[in-house]
Amino acid sequence: MRLRGIIGGGGGGGSSRGGATDVGQRRREQVEPGRAAGNGLPDAARSDMALSVRNLSTVFEDGQRTVHAVRDVSFDMRPTERLGVVGESGSGKSALALSILGLIEPPGRVVGGEIHLGGREISKLSDRALGAIRGKDIALVLQDPMSALDPVKTIGAQVIEAIAAHNPEMRRGAARRRAAELLREVDIPQPERRLDDYPHQYSGGMRQRVAIAMAIANNPSVLIADEPTTALDVTTQSQVLALLDRLVEQHGTAVILITHNLGIVSDFCDSIAVMYAGRFVETSGVDHIFLEPTHPYSEALLKCVPNPERLADGPLPAISGFPPDLAQLPQGCAFQPRCPVGREIPECRRQPPRPHEVRGAAGAAIVECHFAEQRIKEVKV
């Protein structure tokens, strides 16, 4: 989709930006390489961010067990930045998305952290106050287009609902025209007529376009897309991604793209966060991950991506073992039991790694590994 030059991204904490060569000057101008990363931005700098998350933690409690779905996650996103969050199923990606939106339902609970949206702290807001923000400043696109739309309401009613939620004074006719306009924007043919259709009369790709139309209805500054293409076939996937690419470009929206598809991240995102057992274990510009995956888990993930050049090497490797039980996390590094580097090392078993800032050939990264500094010199893919 886009060529990617190896222009050094900025620091970690998601603030880096790879060189996206065909997206035009406007975006490139905003690149500020070498920005100090992550966890200690001053407040003034934070208010420049579209989204700034600090030490966000979410648990699910069912009486006996406490599942730590999101553990102490921090990152910053500048306006129009695109952050890819990758990880296995059950690594806490979706819980992170819902936590940011304040949509964690009992027995889940956000237990700590701050969320600044456009400089405004939103994590302590009431549900009513958050309702005024959701869908307007920050919007959501979900994984499965089959179940993301209410089967008994027309497409029009559901798009209009997204518009009307933040424009209560808008007349019905005007909202309907706006809804048709949105459908046209996401390339639905004959939008006026198709407003009165029901979801089951739309194809999967069209439903996902409708989901995107609803999300961009009020021009949000941040869009969280939770596996927006996973349920689609490959052709439709690339169409939907191209559409999303065009729209967020036009509207200047920052995007968190949650996926387990590294290929999509390399095409679509500027920065990447690798999530494992509820934590961001490696955060960097997108080029860094593909050239110098520093965390052993990032490296292992990358080796699992099918690559025609490697066909001769035999079957794809799999990461041995299973993700840890989020209710009974190991004392040290969560990846240690599966880690090719740290499996036998007592330090890894006993001591949770703190975030290390490292700098490699393709930019800086924040890596939660005891061997981060050592590994950045060794790794060759």
Partner: protein, 341 residues
């Protein structure tokens, strides 16, 4: 939509036809000669033959069937052999009591089931959930007549808070002027509030006894559906648009969760409208159930066969309405999907 209506109506006609055939065959297969029953055990064979001829028992079976259904649909339901009154008048006298009890019990059942299911799903009350599941478990398994007796023992005999088995009204109250045949409504129309209250409290225990097992069934169904639907992504999407929790739940979870309940509700209402013999006996309720009970005891052929057909027709019609409502609410029923279009 037109195709759906036509299909459902044809299906209903078929079901009613099946019911008439079945009722006809069962009535003929029962032991005992109706003509002998009418004229009595001491009558001469000549008298029996003459009555047989009169009620058409000597005609060919197909002719008998034709007479049977044509008379039924013309409203010519014959005369009770026991006391000579017209069956139409007898049923017309009793049906309103059954309908009033059925509608009241149905409304009570549905309202309680919806409120209880919302309490434990939308409100997420774990203790209430456990209690409700217990009640539903016991309520589903206990025979209604036994529930009726228990209710009478507790609320009438022990605590004297509700009237005993004395029918639709207290002894002092006179029936209100007839408009709808429903005592509660007629009393309100006539402005007789004491009569309204009397008929209302007389309805309570029979309605609870009649409705408890259906309540248990529906509340479990609704609870399960609501829990399932509230996990649907489209609810998260609706919340993501900025809708309040209740708004999203009301607009998107409730309609979807109600769909299966609608079918169940139709079955329940149809069953209630056909009258419950045992409940009506226990509460001395002058409804169609007790009429049929007496008719069976007296082998009053004309009443029983009319009742069988009437209840079949009511049941089929209620379910026809439910099917059509279903098509109105669920677009997937009336509009083909992309895959098949």
């Amino acid at each position: 939509m037109g195709a759906v209506v036509a299909k459902r109506v044809l299906g209903s006609i078929g079901a009613i036809f099946g019911a008439t055939v079945l009722a006809f065959i069962i009535m003929r297969a029962l032991p005992g000669n109706p003509a002998r029953l009418i004229v009595g055990p001491l009558a001469t064979p000549h008298a029996v033959a003459s009555v047989s001829h009169e009620i058409g028992l000597d005609k060919p079976v197909l002719t008998q069937y034709w007479l049977y259904i044509s008379h039924f649909f013309q409203g010519d339901w014959g005369y009770s052999y026991a006391d000579g009154k017209s069956v139409k008048a007898l049923i017309g006298e009793r049906l309103p009591a059954t309908i009033e009890l059925a509608i009241f019990s149905f409304a009570l059942t549905m309202i309680c089931a919806v409120v209880a299911a919302l309490l434990v799903t939308y409100r997420q009350r774990p203790v209430a959930d456990r209690i409700l599941r217990g009640v539903a478990y016991v309520g589903f398994g206990t025979p209604p007549f036994f529930v009726a007796l228990l209710l009478l023992i507790v609320f009438f005999r022990s605590f004297h808070v509700l009237p005993g088995p004395e029918g639709r009204l207290g002894l002092q109250a006179a029936p209100p002027p007839t408009v709808t045949h429903m005592y509660t409504l007629d009393a309100l129309i006539a402005g007789q509030f004491s009569t309204f209250w009397s008929s209302f409290v007389h309805l309570l225990l029979p309605a609870i006894a009649l409705g408890l097992s259906s309540f248990s069934f529906i509340v479990r169904l609704l609870r399960a559906n609501l829990l399932e639907v509230s996990r649907e992504p489209f609810l998260t999407v609706a919340r993501g648009k900025g809708l309040r929790r209740w708004t999203a739940f009301r607009r998107h979870a409730l309609p979807n969760a109600f769909l299966p309940t609608l079918t169940a509700g139709g079955l329940v209402l149809g069953e209630f409208l056909a009258g419950s013999v045992l409940i009506e006996r226990v509460f001395n309720w002058p409804g169609i159930g007790s009429l049929v009970f007496d008719a069976i005891v007296k082998q009053d052929y004309a009443i029983v066969q009319t009742f069988i057909l009437l209840s079949a027709v009511i049941f089929v019609l209620v379910n026809l309405v439910v099917d059509l409502l279903y098509a109105v609410i669920d677009p997937r029923v009336r509009i083909p999907s992309v895959a098949t279009a």
